[in-house]
């Protein structure tokens, strides 16, 4: 029997609770009765309570079943996950809201992540499953969220603050547009294994993969050479070719980026910008990274106006002021020297002391 293929994902309609089916596309407004709880009211008058629960994302089947138990008990057997990997319980019976919240509390499942909170950190595989990481993902996220935990369950920040993590420059966590991004970086050029290169790699593709043109053919060896002066350790050659590993126990670590944003509100989408070029990998709790993120959140929370995202605040006060207020030293690496550099230069004599 030929395997059945191309049948596509399950129909989402089968996954919707009755209250949603009934009011699909007819929601009128929402409120946030308390942190972690949304109330959506439909034209029909129906109300749906959503309870958002923080998630470690890396779930065991046991944990998934625990969530199913809860969904069956309180939500008619329906639940969803969010685009930031949180769990959402969909409560149509208002009377079940308080009991659900109580049980979540009892089980240590944190409720929050709505509105002006710090919600889940979008992240990636790290040492758990990927072959190119410069840092771990789940461990750093756990350490940071433990420290920022109070911000998850409250909504008192000036605005949204989205934190993301990616364990290498591939940026699977799409950290490049986050209020705060934690990015794993390598700091040593690839250690070429010529035998592997020769046996397994398509030389022209590896050369084309290098953003800075650091790779040249080495025809004598049927391999490659790397101009180490031009290499900025992105690891893209390794993606293309197992003979060019870049990971290094001592060199690898974490960088911190701030001020990115995705939504089109006010100033619109923006890239995150490098503010700390390197912090060491210090498992299990990455205290330097945790402290850096916490400091940035706190400085922003203290100085920003209401509804001002990280980047909007910094663009208002100026980056020179951000470095002063945050106490982060201004490192040379922060000055762009890639092809996009001219956009970032101060092309005006107007700046602050």
């Amino acid at each position: 029997m030929a395997t059945r293929t191309d049948f596509g994902p399950p129909d989402y309609r089968e996954m919707l609770p009755p209250v949603i089916k009934a009011n699909y596309g007819k929601w009128l407004y929402h409120e946030r009765p308390q942190p972690g709880v949304l109330k959506h009211v439909a034209e029909s008058g129906d109300a749906l309570y959503t309870v958002r629960v923080g998630s470690e994302r890396l779930l065991s089947t046991d944990k998934v079943r625990e969530l199913c138990d809860l969904a069956e008990k309180y939500c008619g057997g329906y639940l969803r996950f969010t685009s930031r990997h949180n769990i959402e319980f969909l409560v149509s019976d208002a009377n079940l809201l308080a009991p659900l919240l109580g049980e979540l509390k009892a089980r240590g499942l944190p409720v929050g992540g709505t509105g002006h909170s710090i919600t889940n950190i979008v992240h990636t595989q790290g040492w758990v499953h990927c072959h190119t990481p410069a840092t771990d993902a789940s461990g750093v996220v756990k350490a940071v969220m433990d420290e920022l935990f109070d911000y998850f369950g409250t909504m008192d920040l000036p605005a949204y603050c989205r934190i993301s993590l990616a364990c290498c420059l591939n940026m699977c966590g799409a950290v490049h547009c986050s209020d705060i991004a934690i990015l794993g970086i390598h700091r040593k050029p690839p250690q070429i294994n010529h035998d592997i290169v020769k046996a397994k790699c398509e030389i022209p593709n590896v050369i084309a993969a290098c953003p800075t043109g650091a790779i040249r053919p080495d025809p004598a060896r049927k391999s490659l050479t790397v101009n180490e002066d031009r290499c900025m350790y992105c690891g893209n050659c390794y993606t293309m070719c197992p003979g060019m590993p870049v990971a290094d126990s001592a060199g690898d670590g974490v960088s911190i980026w701030v001020g990115g944003k995705v939504s089109n509100t006010r100033g619109g989408p923006a890239f995150s910008r490098l503010v700390i070029p390197y912090l060491p990998n210090t498992p299990p709790r990455w205290p330097e990274t945790v402290a850096a993120v916490k400091n940035i959140v706190e400085v922003w929370a203290k100085h920003a106006r209401k509804h001002e995202r990280m980047g909007e605040w910094i663009e208002r006060i100026g980056w020179e002021r951000f470095f002063e207020l945050s106490g982060i030293p201004f490192a040379e690496q922060l000055i762009d020297d890639f092809t996009t550099a001219p956009e970032t230069y101060r092309t005006t004599a107007a700046f602050k002391w």
Binding site: T3, C172, P242, N281, P284, F338
Partner: protein
């Protein structure tokens, strides 16, 4: 088994108030040798400060060219359970909604064939089934097919599209994001399952410009809801907001990027002609303000992460498109984009990079789109433009 293994570093991460992935690892490790060895290897990584996976290899299931990420430990002697430890990308239902029956069935399949570890979800949106052996891939897929779950994308293919919660639970969805996601995914099953593109292609769908799936930052094609016509104002509700403590002037009017609003203490005025539909005011007063009635979407193209030539945000290619079933115009547009990119793209060149290399003009021409100021922030500053045949 479990009692031999010491993982003091990971154990430390069971402390603290945020849910711990280490607890999940231990739950799985209690049942599965592979999960246990995963923990062991991860502890080793914590000690060594480096990963212990080898460069991935290509593995898969019959009839598909993707959907599985091959993975092998570099310490098979120490951790034989993860000698093979491939992940399976399973296509999530639109909007990540589940009934518990479906979830429980998934768990069963995965307990049978894999490590018992998952990601809900991967960054692209798939359900990630984390770790199985090569010989389990096909049986696992067959069991998944039996419960109605198909694989997602990997490699140089269309990747699993994803959509925000949309009309299912949000008053701002300007079109049916779930249905569009489902329709696209089904319309392009072959492109999703059989890598034959120059590189990966991602589609993300947000019902409004709040962009709750971060489409603009990380998809080659972003479909983002919007409207035409006037924002509907309920002045009573505006006043209620003011009474409720909102400083309408400072929080709403002053932060409107186009400065098209006014507030005299009782009435909110809005010059809709100048509004750029950023959503800020509506976000702040969901009861008082509603989007215009003529709804549809903008299509942005070219978004992606930094590899190779730097990150790109998606940019406006189609300022407005109506999105109603059967979505023919949309599907046709996607097809045209695929064709042009497929024909012109170099190996590992994302759509945005190709457009940058060839010029947006060529892309627009190929798509049959008329250049419009809405597509750019501002016109060019350099005088290096063409008068070649075909250029207007």
């Amino acid at each position: 088994m479990a009692d031999e293994m010491k993982t003091p570093l990971l154990d430390d991460l069971e402390k603290g108030r945020w849910p711990s992935f280490v607890t999940d690892l231990k739950q799985a490790a209690a049942k599965k040798a592979s999960a246990k060895d995963l923990m062991g290897q991860l502890e080793k990584s914590y000690v060594d400060r480096i990963g212990h996976w080898k460069h991935g290899g290509i593995v898969g299931v019959k009839g598909y060219g993707g959907g599985v990420i091959g993975r092998y430990t570099d310490m098979p002697g120490d951790f034989p359970g993860v000698e093979h430890f491939h992940t399976i990308r399973v296509n999530q239902p639109s909007g990540w909604f589940y009934n518990t029956k479906a979830l429980r069935e998934l768990c069963e399949v995965w307990d049978k064939h894999g490590s018992g570890l998952t990601n809900f979800h991967g960054a692209t949106g798939d359900i990630i089934l984390l770790g199985t052996t090569t010989d389990h891939l096909q049986p696992c897929f067959d069991d998944l097919a039996n419960i109605g779950f198909d694989l997602g994308g990997s490699g140089s293919a269309l990747r699993t599209p994803s959509a925000c919660v949309g009309p299912a639970r949000c008053e701002w969805a300007c079109f049916d994001s779930l249905d569009v996601c489902h329709t696209i995914t089904n319309a392009f099953q072959s492109q999703l399952h059989r890598p034959m593109f120059p590189y990966k292609f991602k589609i993300k769908i947000s019902g409004c410009s709040n962009d709750c799936v971060a489409a603009i930052a990380r998809s080659d094609m972003s479909i983002i809801g919007t409207w035409k016509g006037n924002i509907r104002i309920n002045q009573d509700e505006v006043r209620a907001c003011a009474q409720g403590g909102m400083n309408i002037q400072a929080e709403v009017v002053d932060l409107c990027p186009t400065h098209c609003m006014g507030w005299d203490g009782t009435t909110l005025t809005l010059d809709d002609r100048e509004c750029n539909r950023c959503m800020h005011c509506i976000n702040l007063m969901p009861k008082a303000l509603r989007q215009g009635v003529e709804r549809g979407a903008s299509i942005l193209v070219g978004g992606k992460a930094p590899i190779v030539h730097g990150a790109l945000l998606g940019w406006v290619a189609v300022p407005f498109i109506k999105l109603e079933p059967p979505y023919d115009e949309l599907l046709e547009f996607i097809n045209k984009v695929f064709d042009w990119w497929d024909e012109n793209g170099k190996m590992r060149e994302r759509l945005g990079e190709l457009i940058n290399r060839q010029g947006m003009g060529k892309f627009l021409k190929a798509m049959g789109l008329k250049p419009a100021p809405q597509m750019i922030k501002r016109p060019r500053a350099n005088p290096y433009y063409f008068w070649r045949e075909g250029v207007n």
